[in-house]
Structures are given as structure tokens and as C-alpha cells.
């Protein structure tokens, strides 16, 4: 069995720095649709895709700031804030997705 070598922390931190800069905009600016072509803009599929992209960026940011904190280039407060914001964003996305699915179910269950 071959165990792949663990990359040095410095490399991951350097890779993370660009990500931190790219994703620091939060929900407001992150996540411009990576989800595919056929769906019209504003469709549920598109919005869900954007939300998931944005969430991915925020959680990546939290991971990277934690790495920075561990490497000594960010404060523990920054890491705490990033992870709190990631947690809140996850809860928000989950709440909105539940609401959307509930709305869809309400329409589908409408007696015709």
C-alpha cells in the first residue's frame, strides 16, 4: 500500500491565499453561475447552483483562514469569524432550500 506524501503546509497556505482574496466578497458577490447552460437565468436550477457555488466559496474561505491562523498569518479571531460566517451561510442556504422545496411541494399537491 502506497501512502501519498502530505504536501507541506506552506504550499496549501499559498494556494489558499488567492482563494481568500477571491472569495472574501461573501454571498453578495460570490458564485456567478457555474451551473450549466440550458437552464434560463433566474430559474430555480440556476439560483440553486449559484447558492451552492457561493456556499462553497465561503466554506473554502473559512478553511483557508483557519490554515492562515494555524500558520500564524491570521488571527484566531479571523478564523473564528470566518467559520461562524460559513456556518451561518450554510444554515441560510439550508433554510432557503427547504422553503423552496416546500413551495414546490405545495404546488405539486394542489388538487386539480
Amino acid at each position: 500500500m502506497i501512502i501519498p506524501p502530505i504536501p507541506p503546509i506552506g504550499a496549501s497556505v499559498a494556494a489558499g491565499a488567492a482563494q481568500v482574496a477571491a472569495t472574501s466578497g461573501g454571498l453578495a458577490s460570490a458564485g456567478v453561475g457555474a451551473v450549466g447552460g440550458a437552464a434560463p437565468p433566474g430559474s430555480f436550477q440556476n439560483l440553486l447552483g449559484q447558492a451552492i457555488d457561493s456556499l462553497n466559496g465561503v466554506t473554502n474561505n473559512a478553511t483557508n483562514v483557519s490554515l492562515h491562523a494555524a500558520a500564524g498569518t491570521a488571527t484566531v479571531a479571523d478564523a473564528t469569524i470566518a467559520s461562524t460566517v460559513a456556518s451561518l451561510d450554510t444554515q441560510l442556504a439550508s433554510a432557503l432550500a427547504s422553503k423552496a422545496v416546500n413551495s414546490l411541494n405545495a404546488i405539486m399537491n394542489m388538487p386539480l
Partner: protein, 140 residues
């Protein structure tokens, strides 16, 4: 810094400033006994000059501040206090050495203030998180 969770970000600027404050106090206390030959450059105590954070990219509510920032680090007296200590290796011909002007009493009270301020900002963060979670937990 722009986020829909602005209160947490604002409190974060506060904890960052308080962290810097505690760092400078630590530096001042650590260097308070740096004896030099009179006339040589002596350690100058560091004091923070802070003010309201200015960030045009902020997306908070109009007119609401976006936190606090360190504007400058001011330096204390460049002239130290001479003390008679002829056995000190850095003493001059008159047997005097020069110590930095760092008042341990005021540094310690500043440290207590900085700690309290840090805790207050952390409390704002925690309360804001609870508030945001309260609205997110409304399921019905």
C-alpha cells in the same frame, strides 16, 4: 469587507484592533528595562491611534459605521530616564545608563482596558450569531 453578516465583521475589526493594542502593550512591557548608554537610541513606547474604519466598499446599512481601525502607532518619548548604575556594562563615563520611559502602572491599566474591550467585541460577535441563528431557525 462586505457581508450580510455585518455585525460579526464589525466586531471582528474591534477584536483585531484590541489584539494590536495588547501586542503593543506586551512590547512596551517587554522592553521597559532595555538599558542603553545615554545618548544612544532608546526604546520608545508604542501607543495606538485608532479611529472609525473607513471602507467605501462596505455594504452595510447606509450611515452605519463599518468598525474601527488602527490609524497610526504613535511613539513615546525618545529621551529616556538616566539612572546611576556604574556596574552596568553599558554605563557611560559618569556611571549612568538610560532606560525607556514606560510607566508599568498605566500599561497594566491599558492592558485591562484592552482585555475588557476584546471581551466586549467577542460578546457582540456571539450575540449577533445567536440573533442571526434565531431568524434562521424560523421554519414554519
Amino acid at each position: 469587507m462586505s457581508s450580510i453578516w455585518s455585525a460579526i465583521d464589525i466586531a471582528g475589526t474591534g477584536t483585531n484592533v484590541d489584539q494590536t493594542w495588547i501586542d503593543t502593550i506586551g512590547g512596551n512591557i517587554a522592553n521597559m528595562n532595555d538599558a542603553v548608554t545615554p545618548g544612544k537610541p532608546v526604546y520608545q513606547a508604542q501607543y495606538l491611534s485608532v479611529g472609525e474604519r473607513v471602507d467605501p466598499s462596505s455594504m452595510g446599512a447606509p450611515g452605519v459605521g463599518v468598525g474601527v481601525q488602527v490609524n497610526a502607532i504613535d511613539l513615546g518619548s525618545a529621551k529616556g530616564e538616566n539612572q546611576y548604575d556604574p556596574t552596568n556594562p553599558v554605563a557611560n563615563a559618569k556611571g549612568e545608563v538610560e532606560y525607556p520611559v514606560v510607566d508599568l502602572g498605566s500599561q497594566m491599566t491599558d492592558l485591562i482596558q484592552a482585555q475588557t474591550s476584546y471581551q466586549a467585541n467577542a460578546k457582540v460577535m456571539s450575540t449577533a450569531k445567536d440573533a442571526y441563528e434565531a431568524i434562521l431557525n424560523i421554519k414554519a
